[in-house]
Structures are given as structure tokens and as C-alpha cells.
């Protein structure tokens, strides 16, 4: 076991973790932050995407012991003071959710994109969420939601 210090959604945690625990398992099982989903658990679906120090990463392929002193954002950290994040509002407005399993992942991918590129094109959006598989929406509604949240006309 090794002790790590993590900041998750602004809260600091001191945790004892095994070398073989992934960040995904720590978030879900130790911190009860089950918004981050376990899909393929092998880096192929993007459902477990979280932001680490501003970049989108796959928490199922990240060893928790390597996350000491890192800053993590999960879907639970998007809502501020009871107000949904613009990406969450936009996802609802555009019906970009059906089963909802991929939703936390693509929203975090989109958040990382918008922090880097506040006015993305549709191609930028497509590249940013290419690693987030969705079997329900066909992606168009997700792209529209992200473009709308960025203040862009979703027909662009």
C-alpha cells in the first residue's frame, strides 16, 4: 500500500492504494464517485474519461499510485453551487443522452476541449470525442450539444 494525495473536484483526499488499483476503481469504490463509468475497462470506449490536470485521460488505464498530487475532475465536479455546467444543460436541451452510460465521459472530453479551444469547429468536436463510443445517439446530438455549449451555432 502507498499513500497518495489527490485533489478530486476541488476536495483533497489522502488515500492508501495498492499498486494495481486503477484511478477508476479508486474513484468509484473508495470515493463513491460512481459518475465515472466502467465500460470496456481496457482503454477502448472512453466511458471512464476524467480530466487530470486539464487533460482528458482514461481512468481505467491510469494507476492510482501514479496520481499523487494530481488534480482530477469527474462529472460530479461539473455542477457548481447547484447550477448545472453549460455542457450538462446543453446535453439535456439537445437530447444528447439516451442510456447515459457514455455521457460523463464525453462531457469531460468536451470540457477539456473547450478549455483549450473555446470556439471549436464541428471537426474539432469530432476529434475531441472520437474516443468516446456512444451506441445510442449517433453522435450528431452530442456534437450539437457541445457546439451549443461553446456558443456556436450547432449547424456550423
Amino acid at each position: 500500500m502507498k499513500t497518495i494525495h489527490l485533489k478530486v473536484n476541488g476536495d483533497s483526499y489522502e488515500l492508501s492504494v495498492e499498486a494495481n488499483q486503477t484511478l477508476l476503481d479508486v474513484l468509484r469504490d473508495e470515493l463513491s464517485l460512481t459518475g465515472t463509468k466502467k465500460g470496456c475497462d481496457s482503454g477502448a470506449c472512453g466511458a471512464c474519461t476524467v480530466m487530470m490536470d486539464g487533460e482528458p485521460i482514461l481512468s481505467c488505464l491510469t494507476l492510482a499510485v501514479r496520481c499523487d498530487q494530481r488534480d482530477i475532475t469527474t462529472s460530479e465536479g461539473l455542477m457548481q453551487n447547484g447550477t448545472l455546467h453549460p455542457l450538462q444543460e446543453s446535453a439535456m436541451k439537445h437530447n444528447a443522452v439516451q442510456c447515459g452510460y457514455c455521457t460523463p465521459g464525453w462531457i469531460l472530453s468536451a470540457k477539456a476541449l473547450l478549455e483549450r479551444t473555446p470556439n471549436p469547429t464541428r471537426a474539432d468536436v469530432q476529434r475531441a470525442i472520437a474516443g468516446n463510443l456512444c451506441r445510442c445517439t449517433g453522435y450528431k446530438r452530442i456534437e450539437d450539444a457541445i457546439l451549443d455549449a461553446a456558443g456556436r451555432n450547432s449547424d456550423s
Binding site: I57, V65, A130
Partner: protein, 337 residues
């Protein structure tokens, strides 16, 4: 699936890292980004007793450039940081394209240059959960004595699928390798062993620590084209990098090279230098490049997606398309790539 149990060492110096690798031998694995290693561990294809983390070793996380020496990139630079470097984008567009062709935004943020070069070979009979392997005898790559992809083969045919290697090979990149007792700089092409089971020639204590790319010649251009089923995540079913330098003194090209990935146990380099000395017009040279690439490509039926025959037929087309794009880049800029 949970990872098997292992011990993690996080050395803070390269010497300590190489010493650990040297002492522990076969039971230890180096971990950089982890995007290639951890899925194999989850599948129980690899079960090292110890992982040595390269993440805290200093000075492996930077890039630098000089007009005379060219580009120097540390092995732990992530693909997203590499592609986001203004020098890479402006002066090395071929490398920029190849870095962004790898996986998706998440994998690019995690995967490293060194890890991408040293990624293991792929085969659908190997890269699968134990449950789906249980009715198959262990293949060469799993320590057995059979190849399910090429029946009757005496060796492993797992395919090299890195995206950066062909681009770097076409640009005549070199790598720095550090070991417990010495370090050396060698051409990248010498890294690859030609054996799908153990695709790299690294000794147990050796680590790829730097990639060195010559400064881009004036009037040069490059392109990387990747065939895959989906526009994300997938490994290349065929990847073609072309790098060329427009000629002087009446020659059309001063140099032209193509490199392939996804079609053999190692990346395949086709260097046009010898034909250029023989002369010939540009169309003949490009035709010879495409035909040689076609002859050298050996795709096999060990992946999902298109058939080996189709992938091999597409080699010529991809080489010619990449040459066209590289030519357009070289002619448009008229100077630096």
C-alpha cells in the same frame, strides 16, 4: 478486469531505473504512459512482478530544437504535448500528423513518444481476454509453440502497429538508448528486431530516452496516411509515411523515403537513395518506391477489418497519395517543410 498484483518502483534517476531493470531481468517491465502495457496486463498476457515507473526520472519530459541539431524530444513527452509543440507543428508536419493519428485525444494525452516506439506487436489471437484464449493453445507470443495467424509458422507474426515509427524512420531519426553502464545514439531502424514475439532489440537494462530528428531540409515535405476502420482508437491496418526533399542540380528529388506500419513484424523502410543515384524521372522513382513498398509489405490475417490482400493492394495507392501530399507541401512552402 482487475490488474494482477505487482510491485511499483518509481526511481528518481535514470541510473537507478536502469539498475532496477538490470537486476530484475524478465520479471520487470518499464511503464511510461501505460496505454499499451496495462491492457496486456489486464488480459494476463503480461504478468510482471514489478513495474518500473519512468515518470519521475528527470529530463525526459522536454523537447528542444536547434537549426543545426534539429529536434530532440524526451521519451516521456506525451503525444498531445509533442503535437502541441509549435516547433513540431511548423517544422515537422509529418511528425505532427503521425502523433495525432495515434488513438484518440485521451490516449494521446497519456501515451508517450518512447512508449509509442516501444509498443508491443499486435495480433488478434494475443490481444484478447483469457476467456477468449482458453480454447487455443498458447501461441509463440504467450510462450507456446504455435502461431494461430500463420499456420505452420516457426515464428511469431504479431504485427508492429506504431504510428510514430514510420514517420521518424522516413525522416532518418535516431534514438538515444541509456543502459546501466553506457548510453548510445543509433538509427531508429536498429531498434526493431524483426521478431513479433520480442519486437525490440533492447537489452533488459536499456531504455529509449530520447528521439533525435535532423533539421528539416529546405524544400522538403512529408505526409502520413493511416488506414483504419474507425477514425479513433484503432491501430493502423496500414500506415504509410513519406518524406521527400526536392532536388537541385537538375534532379527532381534529393531524397525520398517511404515507411510502412501495420503490415509486418517491424516497421518497413524503403529508402529511395540508391535509385536516385541511377537517375530517372520523378514518375519512375515514385513508381519504383510504391512497387518496392508493395513487395515488402506482408500483412497477415491477424486483425479485424480489411483483408490482408486488400491492405497490401492499398500500399501502392497510399504511397502514391502520400507522395502527392508531400510534394504539394514541399512545393507550396518552397523552403522549410
Amino acid at each position: 478486469m482487475k490488474l494482477p498484483k505487482f510491485e511499483l518502483a518509481d526511481p528518481v534517476s535514470l541510473a537507478e531505473c536502469c539498475r532496477l531493470l538490470s537486476e530484475k531481468g524478465e520479471s520487470v517491465q518499464l511503464i511510461a504512459g501505460g496505454t499499451d502495457l496495462l491492457p496486456a496486463m489486464k488480459n494476463r498476457a503480461k504478468q510482471p512482478k514489478m513495474l518500473v515507473d519512468l515518470g519521475r526520472v528527470p529530463d525526459l519530459n522536454t523537447t528542444s530544437y536547434s537549426e543545426t541539431q534539429g529536434l530532440k524530444a524526451g521519451a516521456m513527452v506525451t503525444l498531445s504535448r509533442f503535437a502541441g509543440d509549435p516547433i513540431v507543428k511548423q517544422k515537422y508536419p509529418l511528425l505532427f500528423q503521425a502523433a495525432l493519428a495515434m488513438g484518440d485525444a485521451q490516449l494521446q494525452a497519456m501515451g508517450t513518444i518512447g512508449g509509442n516506439l516501444c509498443q508491443d506487436c499486435c495480433c488478434l489471437y494475443y490481444d484478447r481476454p483469457p476467456m477468449l484464449r482458453q480454447n487455443l493453445d498458447p501461441c509463440y507470443k504467450l510462450g507456446g509453440e504455435v502461431c494461430h495467424a500463420v499456420k505452420g509458422s516457426k515464428t511469431c507474426w504479431a504485427t508492429y502497429c506504431g504510428d510514430l515509427a514510420p514517420a521518424l524512420l522516413a525522416m532518418k531519426a535516431r534514438i538515444k538508448i541509456s543502459g546501466f553502464r553506457q548510453e548510445k545514439i543509433m538509427p531508429l531502424k536498429e531498434l526493431f528486431s524483426g521478431d513479433g514475439k520480442k519486437p525490440h532489440k533492447l537489452l533488459p537494462d536499456q531504455v529509449v530516452t530520447e528521439v533525435l530528428v535532423p533539421p528539416p531540409a529546405p524544400r522538403s515535405g512529408g505526409a502520413y496516411l493511416k488506414m483504419r476502420v474507425r477514425g479513433s482508437i484503432d491501430y493502423p491496418l496500414l500506415g504509410v509515411a513519406v518524406f521527400l526533399i526536392l532536388g537541385s542540380n537538375g534532379r527532381f528529388f534529393d531524397n525520398i523515403a517511404a515507411a510502412l506500419t501495420g503490415v509486418d513484424v517491424s516497421p518497413v523502410l524503403i529508402d529511395g537513395a540508391e535509385w536516385l543515384a541511377e537517375g530517372g524521372d520523378s514518375q519512375e522513382i515514385v513508381k519504383k518506391l510504391a512497387e518496392t513498398a508493395y513487395k515488402k509489405a506482408r500483412p497477415i490475417n491477424n486483425t479485424f477489418g480489411y483483408s490482408p490482400k486488400y491492405r497490401r493492394e492499398m500500399v501502392k495507392i497510399y504511397v502514391k497519395s502520400a507522395v502527392r501530399q508531400a510534394l504539394a507541401m514541399a512545393e507550396k512552402q518552397g523552403g522549410a517543410t
